[in-house]
């Protein structure tokens, strides 16, 4: 569905993506993990047309997206849920959602209604708050609005940028459960996440990105097993350091 080859992009003289290749097949949930500044967000922004590609190809269902203007990429079936939600605070929840369907609002009103119903079924709490200003919602609910808004465009590929950022652990769990549910329903998802453990737990495959290049590709379970990934992104060594201090603590207890 999505095939990226040798993608190069950056900001002015700053080169961020140094020849990135990756793919997402229809129905897959693929995650890109990596530290802050690795280029993950730039990658999504380049696919979405927000940052121009300086080289390489982005092939989406046969179309070269590097030649498509940013505003029509959604029309091609590729929607981005941006980092930090970016909901319109002084608009109602429903207005925010309808905004996601702007490409077809004029010509397909009943279709849009149906999609909106689908979003409300996915996130019942949004139906309750449809008239409320989006700015008054909690972070988790705002994330639901952001995902719902992207769903309104009925994209074939849903891209999410750090959906867990700034959310309480329980809320993160809910959001990932929703993503897993969407995936199970056949939605194709490209997920960029710093929370590598949560992302790999629901993904089919993953890519590890470092300083603008992909260092690893593989089944999500292989990446979870990889010691480099464990050390760099899953905090494995913190845990083992913690375990090493245990015998000392025991001794203390004994002497007391």
């Amino acid at each position: 569905m999505l095939r990226i080859r040798n993608l190069q992009a950056g900001y002015g003289k700053l080169r961020v993506l140094r020849g990135v290749s990756l793919h997402v097949r229809a129905g897959e949930l693929v995650t890109i993990i990596g530290a802050n500044g690795a280029g993950k967000t730039t990658l999504l922004h380049t696919v979405a047309g927000l940052v121009p590609a300086q080289g390489g190809e982005i092939e989406f269902d046969g179309t070269d997206l590097t030649r498509v203007a940013a505003h029509s990429i959604v029309g091609h079936g590729c929607a981005l849920v941006p980092e930090g939600r970016q909901v319109f605070a002084v608009m109602s929840v429903e207005e925010n959602l309808l905004l996601g369907a702007y490409t077809r609002l004029a010509r397909d009103r009943t279709g849009v209604r149906d999609t909106l119903e689908g979003v409300y079924r996915l996130f019942p709490v949004l139906r309750e708050r449809r008239r409320q200003y989006a700015g008054t919602l909690s972070g988790g609910e705002q994330q639901m609005v952001a995902i719902g808004r992207a769903r309104m465009a009925q994209p074939r590929l849903l891209m999410l940028d750090e959906p867990s950022m700034g959310l309480a652990p329980l809320v993160v769990k809910d959001i990932f459960k929703t993503l897993a549910g969407l995936h199970a329903a056949g939605v194709t998802i490209l997920l960029v996440e710093q929370n590598a453990r949560a992302a790999l737990a629901i993904a089919d495959r993953g890519y590890v990105m470092e300083t603008g290049a992909i260092l690893m590709e593989g089944a999500a379970r292989d990446l979870l097993n990889n010691n480099d990934v464990q050390r760099a992104y899953l905090g494995k060594d913190y845990q083992s350091i913690g375990e090493r201090t245990l015998p000392g603590a025991e001794t203390q207890r004994q002497t007391r």
Partner: protein, 435 residues
């Protein structure tokens, strides 16, 4: 049976995408983690960002056996030793051994590609698989073991510590349905079976998967007749992973290379340029999923041709032809070129002779001489007549003359003497010519 339909039958275009992605990740990792590659790429001016397609692979330097020897034991590892969970080594019969390391994921992938090889030959979880490869530093035993276990078969780790008769008794009593070993060992087992005082009736044995030494179609037919099984060829190399690089499917029309894990190229060993499509040349492999011991463009010295056409079995993975010879043992004598395995083939076809062959090249009166040392098979009973010995000698001489235009000297040795000096490959070439 196709073990992993998703990867074994993917379109060539999807495969190309996967290969370039994995190639780029491998290059990024070896450049960061393996000093040899860091230095080589810098010295050769390789810009990894310019490796944009599989064709660009051709601009990368090769890795040779010499490079691996120089890095003995751990110089080529791409991860710290604490991430390695298994070590194997090449035999070292032709020089310093090469040590290879596997991470946990490497073992998983290895099991998978071997399971594919077994599955392609028709092995299922209902089979009893007797592995008569040595369980040791050699990758054959444990490599097939993990693959067969992954498949869910009942595995007999018979190894090679038992003698042929014991292997045969295990085979009979445990109801072995699949035999995995070297073709020459299969012959020894066939002889041991024929020597059993009571010939058993129907054995469940039906599939043989053979590898680790060059063999031929003729030997395949011979083994099949004597052991009453269908024999499949498999190909592996310690440096790349061990068994599981490629294997035959039921159509037995080439060995499917697991190209989602290994990129294969065929080059002209002299010019190092890519061989013409479909032409035989030296196999060159690049590992694209290995974590512990990744290799870029490793020259195997094995000669084969590649066929990328889809197979009737449904696999889209390219097929390589049987590896019958190596680039480095080509014998050049009196302007003629021949491979020792070709001579071995003729000896085997002679009937009555043991499979072991020793080839001695010397220079007598300014002229190169070819001597072929053979022995009678242990079970050959017709030695009483000198005339018969002469017949065999003449027939073999004629064959070689016809094929190569050279008249060899045929020397008969004691079986035990020849066996000892030939090693596991049943073949030894001694070149006494002054260089």
């Amino acid at each position: 049976m196709i073990y992993n339909r998703e990867y074994e039958t993917m379109t060539r275009s999807d495969l190309a995408q996967l290969q370039i992605e994995r190639l780029q990740t491998t290059l990024n990792r070896v450049y960061r983690h393996v000093a040899f590659y860091h230095e080589t790429f810098d010295r050769e001016g390789v810009d990894l960002e310019k490796v944009r397609s599989l064709d660009d692979l051709q601009r990368l330097p090769f890795t040779t056996k010499e490079d691996l020897r120089r890095s003995y034991p751990y110089g080529m590892f791409a991860v710290p030793l604490r991430d390695i969970v298994r070590l194997h080594a090449s035999s070292g019969t032709t020089g310093q051994p090469i040590v290879v390391g596997y991470t946990r994921n490497d073992l998983q992938h290895w099991s998978e590609v071997v399971a594919r090889t077994l599955s392609a030959a028709g092995v299922t979880e209902h089979d009893v698989v007797q592995i008569a490869f040595q369980y040791s530093l050699f990758t054959g035993g444990l490599g097939f073991h993990y693959g067969a276990e992954r498949l869910g078969a009942a595995v007999i780790p018979a190894s090679s510590h038992t003698n042929a008769t014991e292997q045969i008794l295990i085979m009979r009593d445990y109801k072995t349905s699949v035999l995995v070993t070297m073709p020459s060992h299969a012959l020894a087992l066939a002889a041991a079976r024929a020597a059993l005082p009571q010939q058993p009736g129907d054995w469940p044995l039906k599939i043989g998967i053979f590898g680790a030494e060059p063999w031929s179609e003729e030997l395949r037919r011979h083994i099949e007749e004597r052991l009453h099984l269908t024999a499949y060829d498999s190909y592996g190399l310690t440096e790349i992973i061990g068994p599981g690089i490629s294997g035959e499917c039921v159509h037995r029309n080439g060995l499917h290379v697991n190209e989602d894990h290994f990129i294969v190229e065929v080059i002209n060993p002299l010019t190092l340029a890519p061989a013409a499509a479909g032409a035989a040349g030296e196999l060159v492999f690049t590992t694209i999923t290995k974590e512990g011991f990744p290799l870029v463009r490793y020259r195997t010295g094995d000669v084969a041709a590649l066929n990328p056409a889809p197979c009737a079995c449904g696999r889209t993975l390219a097929r390589m032809s049987r590896v019958a010879r190596r680039t480095d043992d080509l014998i050049s004598i009196r302007g003629r070129k021949l491979f020792p395995t070709q001579l071995q083939e003729m000896v085997r076809a002679s009937g009555g002779l043991a499979p072991q062959v020793r080839v001695v090249l010397s220079r007598v009166a300014e002229e190169d001489a070819l001597e072929i040392q053979v022995a009678f098979a242990e079970d050959f009973g017709g030695l009483d007549e000198v005339r018969q010995v002469e017949q065999i000698r003449q027939a073999l001489t004629q064959r070689i003359e016809q094929a190569f235009g050279l008249t060899p000297r045929i020397v008969f040795l004691e079986y035990s003497t020849l066996h000892q000096s030939c090693g596991a490959k049943n073949l030894r070439v001694v070149d006494n010519r002054p260089s």
